[in-house]
Symmetry: C2
Subunit: 218 residues, 2 copies
Amino acid sequence: MQGPRTVAEQVANVLREAIASGTIKAGTSLRQDDLAEQFGFSRMPIRDALRQLEAEGIVSIHPTKGAQVARMDSAEISEIYALRELLECEALRLSLPNLAGDRLDEAEQVLDQIDAERNVGRWGALNRAFHLALYDACGNNRLLALIEAHHNAADRYVRILLSNLDYRSRSQTEHRDLLAACRRRDGDRAIGILRQHLREGSETLVSAIREDGLSRKS
Amino acid sequence: MQGPRTVAEQVANVLREAIASGTIKAGTSLRQDDLAEQFGFSRMPIRDALRQLEAEGIVSIHPTKGAQVARMDSAEISEIYALRELLECEALRLSLPNLAGDRLDEAEQVLDQIDAERNVGRWGALNRAFHLALYDACGNNRLLALIEAHHNAADRYVRILLSNLDYRSRSQTEHRDLLAACRRRDGDRAIGILRQHLREGSETLVSAIREDGLSRKS
DNA sequence: GCATGGATATATGTATGCCTGTATATGCAC
DNA sequence: GTGCATATACAGGCATACATATATCCATGC
């Protein structure tokens, strides 16, 4: 596994993490000159990085007006979660018959890691790792890429969820229920749990955003 | 409706159309210098355009190795059609209850246009317009964007399909059946027809690609 | 006092040049 | 004769410089 080969990729990775972790807030305008100076590179790789992040739906670019961290209101969060439900339930349905036992063991280890992890910033990645492990055998790489893209797009909001201790506890319970259903090869039950899991996440997140006022327009 | 605001967008549009129409074949390497000379601009807007097309999955870029028109083998075509089936059936299910009658009239006009159109290059766009008209009221903009992205990614292959007179005739019959089911507000039937329509397209296209050898690796 | 137009400033879009990395070909050694 | 190493060439990434568009502010006129 080799690291990023270009400066643009490095910049994109740093910005993605900064946005996901909340260091750079939604709506912040990302000026090419400022970023170039901060990173110590010219504007060109920064432009490439911003294009990359735009493709991922993390920033929005308007010609001659620059880039800013994409704002998501509760409606967009709902859309993303509706898509996650559609895509991930299908991936699980396709994957489960082909899912080897040791993959499930790996998924369980990830759950243990989540319980042990005290660094808030790691929860998002671990949460994603657990979900993707279950879908890994679905046989459709584009489907997996779409799922990962939606995880990335909503990452900074999911982290808000996961920083809520109560939600995190419920989430882990559901994760273990889901894993148990997968071990029993009970596809319908597993998909049902996953669907319920995502809907709870969506509802919790939407109400959290509404009261936090995170959706306010600048 | 204002046109492209930047050179990069214009270049991206021209390249997208050239690739979709088959003027630029799959696997062709897209050298920045050559394109810059052909278009009469510098390499920078060409770079931006290629990044944009990469995000759309139309070209693939490898650092220091340049860009080339993305090759799709039959497996990738199958993946795209599996996703189209998943996404479009869901969009239709969500849209149908909110779909106004005049929208259906518009869709029918598009079908008439397809029958009347003699320019092969227009069929792809009209075909897409018909499908999107049906999903328009689904209420999830991201879902619509994903569907449109998948239409674009497979466009040049769909055009191969549509240039087949026999397939085109069958396709139109299915389109009209689908429209009729929508008018009757028979959601299950409409989704069933759509699913069958997409599966036929996938199978026809996969076998066409296999025998045409379009998936050969340079 | 308000509105409109023009000018200026700022940030993005575009052009060009240089450097680095990779691939290929050739030569030498085994 | 084959394999490996080195050198050269080519293409892309990055930097610097220039052009353009847009927004804001100030001035002038009504």
